[in-house]
Amino acid sequence: MIELKLPSLGADMDDGKLLEWQVKPGDAVKRGQIVAIVDTSKAAVEIESWQEGTVFELLTQPGEKFPVGTVMATLLEAGESAATAERRMRGVPPAAAQSSAQPAVPAPLKRPAAPGVRKTASPAARKRARELDVEIDALAGTGPHGAVSIEDVEIAAKAAQTRPAAADRYAEMRRAIASAMSRSKREIPHYYLAESIPMRRATEWLTQQNAERPVTERILMGALQLKALALALKRYPELNGFWREGGFQPAAGIHVGVAISIRQGGLLAPALHDADKQPLGELMRALADLVRRTRAGSLRSSEMSDPSITVTNLGEQGVESVFGVIYPPQVALVGFGRIVERPWAEDGALRAAPLVSASLAADHRVSDGHRGALFLAALRELLQHPEKL
């Protein structure tokens, strides 16, 4: 029997509230599949299952709030006898047997619809969706050929009601940021370094690349900088990981937490997984998708729990430099300022050059300024050869 537990989704999260199940008893679950949506102080998070199996029992109900580590559901492993389980399920439906104020409803399998895809739905279901203010094309129906039924619409409307209002979300997020940042400044002995990086080669190369690309495939400087950062980190593993139980634990992969500001205020820094391994074009698409979903308030549990370092990029509208506050239990944060044209001396000649200030805030318990400086130098070098990124 596999226990599906509520994972920790960041240092500042103690509990979550189940919004809806996306599976029901008897459903086969694949690795990485989204099985539930849980509301946290920061976002509605899609909970992924990291094991394969068949859903046996749902032990928590929509609307329930419970701490990190709670067993939310049980799954049958591949070898386990489904026959005994099915007998029990036929006898007493486990979800219905739970005594709870809110009866368990089989949640519709809801997946984000591809943009522009119009769902099959009866006129009655569409009418009900309008009445209840439900976006019907975002629902995956349970009717014939995936058609959306009136019942699907009503279940979705009910789930939406259990989500907190935007104002509450903002207050919660502010509290979460306050708690994480206070802990960081209380516990982490930060040291700070900065380096001006010449960006002529990188900007010229990117301009040339983008001139040949349609608007849908253009690459932002932020993606190029992320790739360079991820490659530099491979050589300095002491900046990529966590401080836990009095010691440093290097991370298994380079999962860069990207600080993304939310329009209504606050920010999130979900993970861009394996940033060092993705080709630049794919990394750009992954980044665009991550930004879109973060701003829509829809993230996956692994994106919340995996970041092994954070990068903050102030971009074109920002200021020249930024020194970050490390997000515990991570041990480093890299900041990029706006690219500015400044006088630059090279080979005895003075000229105007585009520069970016890259900064490192790192945990002195884990690394020293010397290694930090070498890391920024490696980042500078990588950005001089954009064609290799």
């Binding site: 608007v215 932002l220 500001s261 665009a288 879109r292 971009g315």
Partner: protein, 97 residues
């Protein structure tokens, strides 16, 4: 697309990215990206959506011409007009068949 329809389309797309935007609040002649607080990702998303709706692909080199809403609308109209002109079959083309 008429000037008014184009304007409506552009405002509607801006609202999908920045829902707080009200057309009346946009000051003509002021830089659009500052007024609406569009970062480089928002801007790219806006241009991608614009491309999907109108078929107009704005090269990166032209971004600097699109400082204000008025400049953007003028640019789009110009592009539309240019695109439509060579699309019509000419008389010489027909007689050659």
């Amino acid at each position: 697309m008429t000037t008014n329809a184009l304007r409506g389309e552009v405002i509607a797309l801006l609202k999908t990215i920045a829902p707080e935007v009200e057309e009346g609040d946009l000051v003509p002649g002021e830089p659009l990206r500052n007024q609406v607080d569009l970062d480089s990702m928002d801007w790219l998303n806006f241009l991608t959506a614009l491309h999907e709706r109108t078929g107009i692909d704005i090269p990166e080199a032209d971004y600097r011409k699109l400082h204000t809403l008025e400049a953007l609308l003028a640019y789009l109209e110009n592009k539309q007009a240019k695109r439509q002109a060579p699309g019509r079959p000419s008389r010489e083309g027909k007689s050659a068949i």
